[in-house]
């Protein structure tokens, strides 16, 4: 991989980031209404609205707001939320651990279960087991996460109440280290299960289909003809061929870990980024949505770049220039 290629990608990434930042600013300004008009109360007078507009800095000319916005994005000082009046970065960072814990765990489980099952079922294509697992995976994949969440809530929160139904800790929380760890895991079981059940199916189907295709290729036939053990044929030849797009997919999925899972977060009362972002968008809380979308855009660009770089490493046939 040449250094020139790397720099070109970085420059393209920065241009894309600038365009995203500008759109990010413009979109919320051209949306109907403004953060102040969303406060509806008989006591809320035009004078009060004007005071808030001034306090939020929305009385300044748009161009001046835009430059202030660019400055705040580049310095990672996203300002204060219009709603809570707290610094956006602090609020975002305080929500990130829960989101990463939920989505990171589910992501690992999705990839592990999906890839493992996909490989296994590709070798048993057409068997009863393959039909059953593919059917179940399709079923869960088609089910919305909130529906699975509610079913889990009813099943294991109400009828057979073995799991907690809210938050990430007991109230009040335990004080001993291992008790805290176990308590956290206990609280995460249902939300992680909900996200995993609704998410592993797509990985499974992708890997299974690619593996079925790879297993029919001439190089696999050759490997088998050479008398190589099944395990080696499967993992060193067929799977190696499927690996590059999976790695790409993994990297492209990583930004999703910080965008949150709004419905699962709501059902299980998790203090996460998803709910924060959706609430802020509905309330037109500009500093929050701008800050969050900026971070997400950065994550997408970085992960895209990483995916390109790693692709070359896992597939020796690819040489980037």
């Amino acid at each position: 991989m040449s250094r020139g290629y790397l720099w070109r990608r970085v420059v393209y990434g920065l241009i894309t980031l600038f365009v995203i930042m500008t759109l990010n600013f413009v979109i919320f300004r051209i949306m109907p209404g403004d953060p102040v008009s969303l406060i509806i109360s008989p006591q809320f007078t035009p004078e009060m609205k004007q005071l808030l507009i001034e306090r939020y800095g929305l009385d300044k000319p748009l161009l001046s707001q835009y430059f202030l916005y660019l400055q705040s994005m580049l310095t990672f000082d996203f300002g204060r939320s219009f709603v809570t009046r707290q610094p956006v970065l602090g609020e975002l960072l305080s929500r990130l651990p829960n989101t990463l814990m939920l989505l990171g765990t589910s992501f690992l489980l999705n990839v592990f279960i999906g890839v493992w099952l996909g490989i296994k079922m590709a070798t048993r294509q057409g068997s009863r087991m393959d039909t059953a697992i593919t059917g179940v995976s399709l079923f869960f994949n088609a089910m919305p996460a909130f529906f699975i969440g509610l079913l889990l809530l009813l099943a294991f929160g109400y009828y057979w109440p073995i799991f907690p139904i809210r938050g990430t800790m007991s109230v009040p929380p335990p004080t001993e280290f291992w008790a805290i760890i176990l308590d956290r895991i206990h609280h995460l079981v249902m939300p992680v299960t909900a996200v995993t059940l609704s998410g592993y199916g797509s990985w499974y189907l992708y890997v299974r289909n690619n593996m079925v295709s790879a297993l029919g290729q001439d190089f696999v036939l050759t490997a088998r003809a050479k008398g190589l053990p099944q395990r080696e044929v499967l993992y060193r030849h067929a799977f190696r061929n499927v690996l590059p797009p999976i790695v790409t997919l993994v990297f492209l999925s990583l930004p999703g870990l910080i965008t949150g899972a709004v419905i699962t977060e709501t059902i299980f009362s998790l203090y996460g980024v998803g709910r924060y972002l959706v609430d802020a968008t509905l309330q037109q809380d500009y500093p929050v949505v701008q800050g969050c979308f900026y971070i997400i855009a950065l994550a997408v660009l970085v992960c895209n770049l990483l995916a390109d770089l790693v692709y070359g490493l896992v597939d020796p046939r690819i040489r980037l220039r």
Binding site: P32, T45, T84, Q86, L153, Y158, I165, R166
Partner: protein
Amino acid sequence: MVRKLLAFVVAMSLLVSGAALAQDVAWDVKGPYVDEIILPIIMDQEARIIAIQRGDIHVNPGLTQPSHINRLMADPNIEITVSPGYHMFYLGFNMRRAPLNDITVRRAIAHAINRDEIILSLFEGYMLPLAEFVPPASPFFNPDTDVAYYDPELAKQILDDAGYIMGPNGVRIDPATGQELRRMTIMTPTMEVAATSAMLGEMVAETLRGIGLPVYAEPIDFNVLLDRLDTDLGGDRDFDMYALAWSLGRFPTHLYSLFHSKFDVPGANNMPGLRDAQFDAAAERVWTPRNLDEAMDAAYEAQEILSWLQPYVPLYSRPYMDAFRKDIVTGYVPHLGFGAASNVLNSIWTPLNIRLVDQERGGTVRWVLEQEPQGLNILTHNSAYDSRIFGLVYGPGLIAAEPINNEDLPWEAERWEVGTWTTPEGNEGTKVTYWLRKDITWHDGVPFTAHDVKFTMDYLKEKQVPLYLEVWENYSHSEIIDDYTITVYFNNVSYWYTYNVQSFLAKHIWEDVEDFEAFVPWREPHPTVPGLTKMIGTGPFVFKEYVVGEYVRVERYEDFWAGLDK
């Protein structure tokens, strides 16, 4: 009147099975009985229902969904209290454009809508029909208002008599143009945002088409809806009708702020565009009464005028339905207009009186928070969830309202006297003198005095705190007579100023706070008392802990002036 009563009975008969009504309840000004209240945050409604059935929480306020109410009513361990609320859901008109600028059309629409059917089909009876502009829970409700009751035949007759005769296509003819009436819409939030509002829009539109008015529901994005209601189009607005709700207060001042012609401007709340000199005069008297009798007279008159002019068709009022684990807690107090557990900032009675069934004093009550608090700063908050904590920590303030009839109850002020003074500009102003209790202390033990009241009022004005504009915009100054007596001066006359005077900022904590928006009192440790934060009040509970995303915990204040041992 008979029809109104019938509708009320239908709704209430569905409500009362297994429910406790306010009149039956005993309450005391002394308390609290429990040692602590823990408020776990549970955002999902279904999860809250499961949580109270499991016993994870003991108090679940603000039930709204019939399926949840039915489920909890069937649970022998749960009691639901019902309190008529200060709430109004209504159909609003754009009175600037034809044919809705014609009073006969608006009155015909008011007669055509069947509130009972809406309430029974959309809410299984768990709402109270409302035809007046002040909810019945308010002492300012005028029971003799001549409202437009449900009578579809009368609705048709009114339209016929006004010349809106039925055309060949089932659409009435506009007498002004000789053409069929134009297509009109009712804007509502979408099904995803507010399902019952969207369905209500469909129901009302279908009803109105039945009397020959070409009206169709228009569910739209909530931001767009608000934008269209507010945007001035050269003297018009871009809507015909809309369906929305207001949360109202104890006093009828909304009659002024929602309908006075002064507020028919963008950014204000007179969306229908009502402009009526006779009403304006009555509304101004509602806004600036010299005493409660004058306010009552003005409110009665304003309601009568509004019922005739019909800028809205009020449809229903939401009662507060709060669920309690009756096998675990008792002593909850339904408060007329505020509920037993829904509005702690306005109603301290349940926190003071609630106790565990199996022990007279002590123990922990778990009272759910439906959303994350939005910062827990009393000067910047605007959510009901922050207010619940503020109610526990700061208490009702100088004057409380008793729960049965909402009459004034001396709280931090033992008594008060309202008078007038002449401002430096020569105008007549209001002055209110408060005699404070001498046994009140802040949670850190510092005495609560007139200096704190003056400081609070001065601070709000000096910092121009937006949320309290109504409090400080006409505030002139305060005069401390002695440590426990203060006179507060306002620049014009209104009896409501009596209730505007605030006392929640501890001078010794807040006097060093320059930027009140950046200040997070619950995060900063108290300068002298270990275990406390700077979020201190004079209320019955001391703020102890807020684990973000998880729960808030408050403890009984040992030296609370109305404590059980005082």
